[in-house]
Amino acid sequence: MNDEPRGVTRRRFLQALGGLGLAGGVSFLVARGIAFRPAAPAAGRAGSAPATPGPSAAAAPATDSLDELARSVRHGAPGKDAIPAIDRPRFVAASSARFLADEDVVFGLVRDGQARAYPQLVLVWHEIVNERFPSGPLSITYCPLTGSAVAFRGTAPDGRPYTFGTSGDLVNSNLLMYDRQTDSRWPQLLGQAISGPSRGRVLEQVPLDWTSWGRWRAVHPDTLVLSTRTGYLRQYGNDPYGSYNYGAAHELFGYYEPGQGRFLYFPLLHESDRFDEKEVMVAAELGPHRLAVRKALLRDRGTIQTSLGGRPVAFRYDPALDAGRAYLTGRGGSSKRLVTFDVMWLAWFAFFPRAAVIG
């Protein structure tokens, strides 16, 4: 088995400049419909979404059919593995990770007693890390366009563990992975194959925290960090989409920056202007039920008690990591951590327009 395979003004100026230069040459292609459709209002534009979770969230399917999602696939990169996944990740100790600043974004997880941090500045060039833990393979995935990092594990129909690569395609602006065992297509935010031999199969998600390097290292001083020695030569530190740590004020910049008005690269199936499209939501899943809480609200309130699929769930803000988590609460104060992930509002609504939202 082979498993390897500034600011609006400047942007508009660049658009105008580049547009003038290239418009003549390729405009006929646009006219013939070869180009992507613009990110125009699609089938389900909505001004608001359910304010609180309720019975309707459980009764209606949260997302479009797999076929509908498969039909909305768009090219986003030149081809399969054009954005290469990391298959032989190397790690360095926290004390050796001098390439990271405290404010740099990392995705952290603890598995088999080992804390690991995956820097966003590395994953933005690879999007997928196929990992091997003592308990089995795990794929850490990151989609820059939807601001979502999710860890997956799963087993193909023939019993082999899935490993993933980038298909070069997108659904709702979200990374469309392919598995190397069956060549099926999996939108990251759905965690379910929408086409191919594995169609309908669902991956198991593993909790992963979106935090900063300084915070993660303070909580997990013995953590390992994904090295920039990935086997590929890339401009680590130069994010093609913008920055999560821009300038002296460590601000969001470029594509990641809220309040930029409409700034999308690819079309969405459903859109809502209830929040800014780059607003960060903390999303939780429980079986087929999904719920998203606006992260800024959770940060303010500390804890939000709600229900998901008829069961009591508590969203809690972890100030040490600046991360949102969700717990299934039971009698006697017991709680079980649910899988949560951060995601931009644009993508959450595009995939789950009928899911419950607390904002």
């Binding site: 658009q15 992507f36 001098r98 530190g237």
Partner: protein, 213 residues
Amino acid sequence: MRSRAPARWVARAVSVALGDRRSRRLAVVVAGLYLLVYLIALGDLVIWAGTGSSRFVRVPSVEVAADWPAQLLAQRAPFAYEPVLAIHPVDHVTVFVAPADLGMGLLLGALAGLNVGVALLATRTGRACGVRGAAGWRGAAGLLGALPALAGGVTCCVPTLALAVGTQLAGALLAVGGYLFPVALLATALPLVWNAHRLARAGPAAASGSALG
């Protein structure tokens, strides 16, 4: 005696153009500039602000890809290849060396340069021999013909491209990205052949450059 073989016309015209100091200089300058822009468009020559490379590697230094023999012909986009070397001469400049990219950039750059060089020669020779024509325009066409390959190179950097030209144009370029290099190759080769043909038709004096005195 006039040669009818395009390869011979071109070889002769190139030989004469390179023998003429002004044509040679112009061809070299154009080829060099084109190669520079081509490497920037492909992301092989990177100059950036913000976080410098010194946070990640020693500067100056040279990095070699871990499995460089396998990377030599590994594509990251149509007609764009994985780098096998990264040269960090100063903090905010990195040169990624992908031999195939370099070869293609040199080829297109040479064709663009020769187009302009031969066009200059043809224009001057045509005037000297009293031959009317549009050699200069064909030279410009040959230079412009090399431009699609620049757009083909940047299709591997969709976000950057989309910022520069908008989503629709970026999508269009992505859709035709695989054809841009061959199109550029043809669009630079044909005007060169045509100008060489014009020179050959102008007679032995023009084709040898002796009409320039």
